[in-house]
Structures are given as C-alpha cells and as structure tokens.
C-alpha cells in the first residue's frame, strides 16, 4: 500500500446553532493510529461521521491525499471501512449470508481465520438476530478486518467486548498498522490503547 | 347601479373581496411579526454567547 494521508484542517460542525466541535485538525499517515477520546455526547461520533463523509462539515474539509473527499468519494470509499454503533449486520440473515452479501470487497470469504480469533466460528450459521450484542459486535469487527481496506474507522469498538477479544483486536490492529494501514478509534474510557501515536480529546 | 346588491350577487362578490383582503393582511402582518421575532432571537443568541 503506498502512503496515503488523511487530513482535517480546522474543521467545525454546528447543528443549527448548537456547536458540536470546533477547529479540529490532524494529519493521519500510513501506519498511524488516531484515538479520539471524550465522554458521551462530546461529538466523537459526529467527528467520525464527518471523516466518513456521512455528515457535512460546517467549516473546513476532510482531505484524502490532499483532495476533498466529496469530490473523490468513490476512490476514498475504496479505502474506507467504517464501524458505527449499529453493526451494519442484517438480523434476519445468518452470519455467513451477511458475509457473502456484505458490500465490502471480502475476497477472504473462504479463510475465516478472523472469525476463529473472535470465537465466532461455531455460530456462523446462526441468524445474527440470535447472536448476543458482543457477538454481533465482534462479527462486524471481523468483517472490517477481513475487508482488506486500508483505513479502518471504529466508533467505540471496545464497548461490550470481553478482554480476550480486545487483545485479539489490538493484535490485528497492530498487524494492520505494520502493514501500512491506518486506524481511527473512538473511546469514552481512559484505558491506554497500546498502538496509538495520535490523540484527540473532545471537550 | 347599487353598489351593495351587485345584481343580488353582492354577497358572493364582497365576500370574495373580504377573504382576499383578510388573507393578504394576515400574510403581511405575519411577515412583519416573523422579522421582529427573528431579531429578538438573534439578540438573545448574541447576548448569551
């Protein structure tokens, strides 16, 4: 993967006249891991959604390889994988169906190593509706890890994950970063995540 | 020509005049009032900023 760069310069967002966040800048290069800290309602999710182009900024703009993302959205989305609070899995379908029909480029359908890592191998045939919150969260995480995209954006990935899965996730993130990938995570807890080198705290 | 009977259609002609007048008046007044309320809103917003 050549070196991509994601920049945000003095971005601010207003919902009508309520300030969500103002004048945030950062530059994320290949191999960096940005952590967004802040307690609930401090605008973490809004910031992440603007990075994914789902929400329009009021001032400033998001640059991917020095080009605004709303002009090159199809190329940018080629590299972007986003995990929201909602897992993006369809409850009626089974985990395998969700995987085969998922819109990411999952060329790793056959090799389910990531699912084994998250101990989801046994529940691959069961509908997502029957999985617990933690399991479907881990399934959504594994989809993104398997999607082979270079920029991973997680919105509070560590919520309701057991410690064993957290270690596995950190392991995979470290592998992704060493492979020139980029990761953005948001969390509302204070514990230190090993691989981060960039940090933003939302007031 | 008697103004009010209007060939015994007076009721219809004058009521349509009246309704048009009332609707135009309502629109004009609500426009002015809307402007002043937005002004106060902006002043309020300005003060507590």
């Amino acid at each position: 993967m050549q070196s991509d760069v994601l920049q945000l310069d003095s971005a601010s967002l207003f919902r009508d006249d309520q300030l969500i966040f103002s004048d945030i800048s950062f530059e994320l290069k290949s191999g960096d891991h940005l952590i967004i800290k802040g307690n609930n309602g401090s605008g973490k999710t809004s910031l992440i959604r603007t990075l994914c182009g789902l929400t329009q900024l009021t001032e400033g703009c998001v640059l991917w390889n020095h080009a605004p993302i709303d002009t090159i959205s199809s190329d940018y989305y080629n590299h972007l994988a986003y995990l929201a609070h909602t897992n993006g899995l369809i409850p009626e379908l089974t985990l395998l169906e969700n995987l085969t029909y998922s819109l990411h480029k999952t060329d790793l359908d056959k090799d389910h190593s990531v699912l084994e890592g998250f101990q989801l191998k046994h529940s691959i045939q069961s509908p997502v509706a029957t999985l617990s919150n933690g399991q479907s969260r881990k399934a959504a995480l594994s989809f993104i890890i398997m999607s082979g995209k270079s920029l991973w954006v997680f919105d509070e990935p560590y919520a309701n994950l057991d410690s064993q899965s957290i270690d596995y996730l950190n392991q995979r993130i470290a592998a992704h970063l060493s492979n020139n990938g980029m990761v953005i995570t948001s969390t509302n807890r204070e514990e230190v995540i090993p691989t981060t080198n960039l940090e933003i705290t939302m007031s | 020509m008697d103004i009010f009977s209007m060939g015994d259609y007076g009721f219809f002609v004058w009521s349509s005049f009246l309704i048009s007048f009332i609707v135009f008046l309502i629109n004009y007044i609500s426009a002015q009032r809307m402007f002043t309320s937005v002004l106060n809103e902006v002043k309020l917003h300005d003060e507590n900023e």
């Binding site: - | 060939g7 259609y9 219809f12 002609v13 048009s20 135009f24 002004l39």
Partner: protein, 247 residues
C-alpha cells in the same frame, strides 16, 4: 474558496440588505395597483351580459390562481438553485414562498367556489381547474409540513427542496391528467372558470390586479426571506453587526 463557498458566504449579507430595502418598493406599488384594480373591477367594469355582476369575482379568482401556480414554479426554481449551490439565500426564498403560495391557492379555491355557487348552484364543482388547484394546495402543504417536521434547518431545506422539484415535475402531469379525466366525464361545456373573452373596461382591471398581486407578493416575500436568512446566518458576523446598528 470555490464557487460553492462564494455563493454561500458572499451573498447573504447583501441579499439581506437588498431585500429589506426592496420590500417597500414592491409592497407600496402593489397595494396601489390592487386598489385601482378593485375600483376598476368592482365599479367601472360593466356587468357581464350573461353572468351579471357575479363575474366580478374573476378579479379575485384569476390573479390568485395564476400567482399560486407561478409561485410554485418560483419556489421550485429557488429550491433548485439552493440544491445546486447549497446557498442559504435560495433556501430562504423557497421557504418563504411556501406559506404565501399556499394561502394564494386557498384563495383561488374559495373564490372559485364562491364563483360556482351563484353560477351552478353548488359550491364545489368537479371542474379540472378547481381540482388541480386543490392538488396544488396539497403539494404546498406537503412542502410546509415536511419543512416543519425535520428539526435541523439545513436538512429540512434540502429535503423540502427535493419535494418541491418532484412536485414541479409532476404539476403539468397532474394538471393534464385532471383535464383529461374531466373532459371524459362532462360534456364539453366551456371550461367553466376560464375567463370569458373580455375586452376593454373589463380587461384592464384584471391585468392591474394581476400585477398588483405580483408586486405585493414579492414585497412580502422579501420581508419573510430576510428574516429566514437572518435565522440561518445567526452566527455570522454581519448578523451581529446588523443587530448592533439597530441599537
């Protein structure tokens, strides 16, 4: 500062000042024209040989019907400009046209029914124009209700603009399908509400009324659009300067 920014930031302040000044330049001539039109229509114009004095209702029906249709077209045009250039000015104009347009359509329906009562004995007549006026009223109400039910101003502007554009594309289709349906049901009598070919003393008051309605309409729209712009640009510095000037 690409084109979008220029449009977004450049025009609101001077549009705001322009529309406040322009308001009286439209409202006062509008009111004068309407007074002259009313005098001409109600008193000077000779009674119609067939309908007697009841025909004078067209001086209130035709201008409001005509303006309600063209107001929807202006609204859709402003919505299109708003969507293409994301300009708050265009969205404000579109939003301010809707209530006045809806009241004009309501006027056109009421005066149409008042016209129908003496002529055919029933207030509501399933005539093509009256029915498509009613549909137009529904389109206006749909726009206004959609605008009110979405909380965030920017999202409401964009969503309602899409509805306005869909409406303006469908308006001719609806109008002609109602006319087509109407010619099926009734024998082809004269289209009941088209103004009979009138000339001279009957015609000039109608034209004066149409222009009077138009001027007054745009005058009031300038005032409403100015307040809409101020509401949307509350945080900008020109709004704050304007407030300071007032004190």
């Amino acid at each position: 500062m690409n084109l979008k920014q220029i449009y977004k930031y450049g025009s609101p302040p001077n549009y705001f000042k322009l529309s406040l000044k322009a308001e009286n330049w439209f409202v006062i001539p509008g009111i004068l024209l309407i007074i002259v039109g009313c005098l001409g229509g109600l008193f000077i114009a000779p009674p119609d040989y067939q309908m007697g004095d009841a025909f004078r209702i067209i001086y209130f029906h035709v201008p409001s019907a005509y303006l309600s249709m063209s107001a929807y077209a202006y609204m859709a045009g402003a919505a299109l400009v708003g969507i293409v250039w994301r300009s708050n000015v265009a969205f404000s104009v579109a939003k301010s046209i809707a209530p006045f347009g809806a009241s004009l359509t309501f006027l056109a329906i009421v005066t149409g029914m008042l016209w129908g009562k003496p002529m055919w004995g029933t207030a509501w007549v399933w005539d093509a124009r009256l029915t498509s006026q009613f549909i137009l009223l529904l389109l206006y109400l749909g726009y206004i209700l959609l605008h009110l039910s979405i909380r965030e101003q920017r999202k409401a502007d964009l969503a309602a603009s899409i509805l306005a554009l869909t409406g303006v594309i469908n308006l001719p289709i609806i109008h002609y399908s109602v006319i087509w349906w109407n010619t099926l049901h009734q024998a082809s009598t004269i289209s009941k509400l088209s103004s009979p070919s009138i000339t001279g003393d009957m015609l000039w008051p109608l034209l004066v009324m149409i222009f009077g309605y138009g001027f007054f309409f745009w005058g009031v729209i300038c005032r409403i659009a100015a307040s809409e712009i101020l509401k949307r640009e509350k945080r900008s510095k020109w709004a704050k300067e304007y407030i300071k000037e007032l004190e």
